[in-house]
């Protein structure tokens, strides 16, 4: 098998290429091939997985070719299939495949469905490259690919202005992260002369503390960009502009998990720098609360789920920051989250399908009877995410909170409060959507979706119920030990049973409050305006954009306005602020190119004078 690893990546890539190049020829069967490709990869992944399990070798390798090689310095394009990669491959291809199948139904009436599948395949292929290579440079390749594909997919409905803006935002914010990644790779090469995981981990112990911290922070910056962690979280909510399957793919299986993968994969770097680890923990805790609070106030079902993703990824980051004690749990939660989040996003898609693509939960209600399958499956996801005992989320989240307490009480407390908030907003979502009285707009006739959409829901629901069993007698921990090292024993300040009980109490509180607020009263169709400042803040994404606006965009705006006299009212948020700044500068500077030869000559002469003077200055200074 190890010589066939490349097929896992090649198949989706090839399918994507065929769909892109084939054009209209493939319209009739393109979507079927597109949906089949990741499933085939999934089967291959399974084979490799069992071989890895059965075999004695800690990991499978395949040397494809030497990418860059000069004398002793080599960047090999090697595939690495070790326990960590294995789990990711299965998650990406498995959940991704299910989402593909679902999309066949979801995008049925879109005439550009073929292109949609081409891009989905590209997305999957890029993500697989990211998790299956054995050196950072190649990871960067997949990293860029994912960024590109997400850009295309989020902006898929480019006729919508908002979609285009959201895509641009996602792209640029990600480029900021990529910059961190690129610089980290440069630094690595400078410090170790290699960029392979093995080489770097060998070199790490001898590296200076400063180098380690710098590497850790730069990589964290990259991870924040891809995983939408504070402060680079702003793109995630807008990314909901994409078709719902895309949201599901981005949130559950691919994109946002990349950051966590990077941190876990680079454990040998974080092992050398406590500062970097602390930074990861802080980012994680802040984000998990941030996202949860946002989730409480959103009436747009997709945005509410997006907030929850942000906060769940925050949990994973927190776990990854804890170190060897947490890596396994981070990955474990990542898997379970992949199941139930995909489940709920597709469920949301199915609801929207029935409600004429209305996303406002205030106009839902009482759908439980009309869409039984969607309701039941969604309920499974719901119980899983709030961590109801027995469901997948319970096992993973509980472990993380436990581990958090071992590292610091603050982190643990934060995680625990996060659990309560999660329970609150998810319950709110359930009530507003499924149970409460009907508040549908006129002419909306909800109906259950077709089997091609409901069957994936059922599959995912089953996963989100039983996903937790991966941890039975610590299977996942042992499985990952060869990669991230032994977990070691850490004494928690509280007994683990006590923590579990506390979590459950929090859970009860959250659900109870939500029931009080939303279950007992009638839910107004319009957003109530007289609400607590907290709610108002949360509705405005905790003023995330406002903050950007005040701190980053306003100055940019003024500067731009000073530079160009163009109307900037359209601008919102840092991204467009910066874009406008650059664009404005550009629009201004290009005026220097007056078209008059004599102006050019003047600039040349001035330039030469400056150069000579600079030379003199250098010599004298």
């Amino acid at each position: 098998m190890s010589h066939l690893l490349y097929l896992i990546i090649l198949i989706p890539a090839a399918s994507s290429a065929v769909l892109f190049v084939g054009g209209r020829l493939t319209d009739s069967w393109g979507h079927l091939m597109g949906a089949a490709a990741p499933l085939v990869s999934f089967v291959l992944g399974l084979i490799a997985f069992f071989q890895l399990r059965g075999g004695s070798a800690p990991s499978l390798h395949q040397h494809l070719w030497t990418w860059i090689g000069v004398n002793s310095f080599q960047v090999n394009f090697d595939l690495l299939f070790d326990p960590l990669s294995a789990l990711f491959v299965l998650l990406i291809t498995g959940v991704g495949g299910i989402i593909h199948v679902y999309s066949v139904g979801y995008m049925e009436h879109d005439e550009r469905r073929r292109r949609f599948f081409a891009q989905l395949n590209l997305f999957v292929a890029a993500m697989l490259t990211l998790v299956m290579t054995s050196n950072y440079l190649a990871v960067f390749l997949g990293w860029e690919g994912v960024g590109l594909a997400s850009y295309l997919l989020i902006g898929f409905w480019q006729q919508r202005d908002s979609a285009a803006v959201a895509a641009k935002k996602a792209f640029i914010v990600n480029r900021v992260g990529d910059m961190g990644m690129a610089l980290a790779i440069m630094l690595m090469f400078h410090a170790f002369g290699t960029m392979s995981f093995a080489g770097v981990s060998r070199g790490m112990p001898h590296a200076s503390g400063a180098t380690a911290t710098a590497l850790g922070l730069l990589l964290l910056l990259g991870a924040c960009g891809k995983s939408a962690q504070v402060p680079l979280q702003s793109w995630l909510l807008d990314a909901m502009e994409g078709p719902t399957p895309v949201s599901a793919l981005i949130h559950a299986a691919t994109m946002v998990t990349a950051g966590v993968y990077l941190v876990v994969r680079s454990h040998f770097i974080y092992a050398q720098s406590g500062a970097a680890q602390t930074a990861v923990i802080v980012v994680g805790v802040v984000t998990l609360l941030w996202g949860a609070i946002i989730g409480c106030a959103k009436d747009d079902i997709k945005k509410a789920l997006a907030g929850s993703t942000m906060s769940q990824i925050g949990y994973m980051m927190l776990a990854a920051g804890i170190g060897p004690a947490g890596y396994a749990f981070a990955i474990f939660h990542l898997l379970t989250h992949g199941f139930f989040k995909a489940n709920m996003f597709l469920g949301a898609g199915s609801v929207m399908h029935g409600m004429n693509d209305d996303v406002n939960m205030r106009r839902y209600g009482g759908l439980a009877r009309i869409m039984p399958v969607t309701f039941v499956t969604f309920a499974c996801g719901y119980l899983a995410i709030i961590g109801f005992p027995g469901f997948a989320g319970f096992w993973s989240k509980d472990r993380i909170i436990e581990a958090a307490f071992t590292s610091s009480v603050v982190a643990g407390a934060g995680a625990m409060i996060g659990a309560a908030i999660t329970a609150f907003y998810m319950t709110r979502l359930m009530i507003m959507t499924f149970t409460s009285d009907r508040r549908w707009a006129q002419g909306v006739h909800p109906h259950e979706s077709k089997p091609v959409m409901t069957i994936p829901l059922i599959v995912l629901a089953i996963c989100s119920v039983f996903g937790g069993f991966l941890t039975l007698n610590g299977w996942i921990v042992n499985w990952l030990t060869p990669v991230v090292g032994p977990q070691g024993h850490h004494e928690a300040p509280l007994a683990s049973w006590l923590i579990t009980v506390l979590v459950l109490v929090m859970l009860a509180i959250g659900i109870g409050l939500a029931y009080l607020f939303f279950g007992r009263r009638r839910i107004p169709e319009e957003q109530p305006q007289r609400v607590s400042p907290v709610t108002r803040a949360a509705r405005a994404d905790l003023y995330g954009d406002a903050f950007n606006e005040a701190v980053l965009m306003r100055p940019g705006q003024y500067l731009t306005r000073a530079l160009v006299f163009i109307d900037l009212r359209r601008i919102d948020g840092i991204v467009n602020g910066l874009a406008a700044l650059v664009g404005g500068t550009s629009g201004r500077v290009r005026r220097w190119q007056t078209g008059f030869v004599r102006t050019y000559a003047l600039s040349m002469l001035g330039g030469s004078a400056l150069i000579v003077l600079a030379l003199l200055a250098v010599r004298l200074g």
Partner: protein
Amino acid sequence: MTLLAAPAFQAPNLAYGRLSPLLIIFGVALVGVVVEAFAPRELRYQIQSLLALAGLVVAFISDVLVASSSPFSSSAGTGAFGGIEAQGAIAVDGPAMFVWGILLVMTLVSVLLVAERRLEGGLTAFAGQASALPGTEAEREASARGIEHTEVFPLVMFAVGGMMLFASANDFLTMFVGLEVFSLPLYLLCGLARRRRLISQEAAMKYFLLGAFSSAIFVYGIAMVYGFAGSFTFADVDNAISSRVGADGLLLLGMGLMGVGLLFKVSAAPFHSWTPDVYQGAPTAITAFMSACTKLAAFAALLRVFYVALGGARWDWQPVVWIVAIITMAVGSVIAITQTDIKRLLAYSTIAHTGFLLTAFAGAYQGTIVLTNQVSSLQAVLFYLVAYGFSSIGAFAVVTMVRDSSGEATHLSRWAGLGKESPVVAGAMALFLLSFAGIPLTSGFTSKWAVFTAAWEGGAWPLVIVAVVMSLVAAFFYIRIIVLMFFSDPVGEGPTVVLPSMLTSAVVTVGAAVTILLGVVPQPVLELARHAGEFVR
């Protein structure tokens, strides 16, 4: 006058074999002029094009032979081979022979573009009769009679010959002559477009006046350096610097002015202003030729002058180059964002690429400090230029194919929805743009990587950080075009992709192939660049 009494004459021994590539090219160019004079008009196109192609191939072969037969010179330092020929006028060393070979290949590809005839309906893209006024009876008659300026081919040959001389010159006088020999034909070629005569001629005039201006400055710089060192040979200048004789002021002045002349040719800010106008106005085939070959030759010369002759004064010029590099990257990447004409946009992107190249140049990571497992600045720059050259030629080749009634449709709005019109062409363009943006698995990524590491190792890491940021900005507008081509609907009746003859298709294919190959398996070319070693002193 006894002071100037010259020494007794001894006939110089010229190693004609070593210089054969140069001689062949110039010989072919001269033959081309004779053909123009005596061959009947209807045969000229065939004769000239075949002659040019044959000459290039033969010259390339002889270059390979010379390179494979060159001994390692004892005089040189790290891994340099080849030697100084023609009484110290020309250095036939590793880098020179590498540059010669690449120049010849890229010119070969460009000549295919020049010879393209189907796009203009049976005629080349060059004015039938430059002397006939646009839109007059004379012009219509000329194009009706199928008159063509087949002088284009000899001119290109002269230009490439000059470039080879420029890149391998080992004293300032030869360098100046080479500079002019490749500039003058280019001035003319820029003005010969068949369509859009006005802007073509304007481009020619601007290029000419500014070029002449810069070469005048260059000459004055040479004079100053001569006054400082008392000789034109690079080695002597180097000695003069290291032995600290001569008036230092003259050196600084000369260094600055000469630098201006060279930076002008590589279109570095603030000497870039000719680039957008000329690139937009010139016939696209010529733009492709310039963007690939002029840049390569000029960078080779720039590095040779500053590493070999002025290497001793590195502490003087390095900081200045840092500033120039930053300005150039900023100007190129930022202004490109608001461009609306594809040729102009590519021109600004070429300026940005110059900036990236200058980072490696400023790093000056060369000589004995180079670790065995890394590429020196010179090698990185050469590799980058190979990668960039082919992508750039390919991109401009695509530009020639996207047309509407008035010739090439270069306004970006006409490119909207190109992906629907012709997926293959748009795909090729997308590939080239991704390569310019430095997305992995394209030549742009590996070459950027090589250049940046060289700069970083040379201690110019702040430059590298600026460069990374700038390449992010640049990536943004490249992606914008891709989205424009694939994801937006055509305006009006949309663009049309005219089916070209074998020639242009071949060019695009070659460009795309090289772009992918150098992205996926760059190793052979990198090795070749490394084998070229350093300059012979």
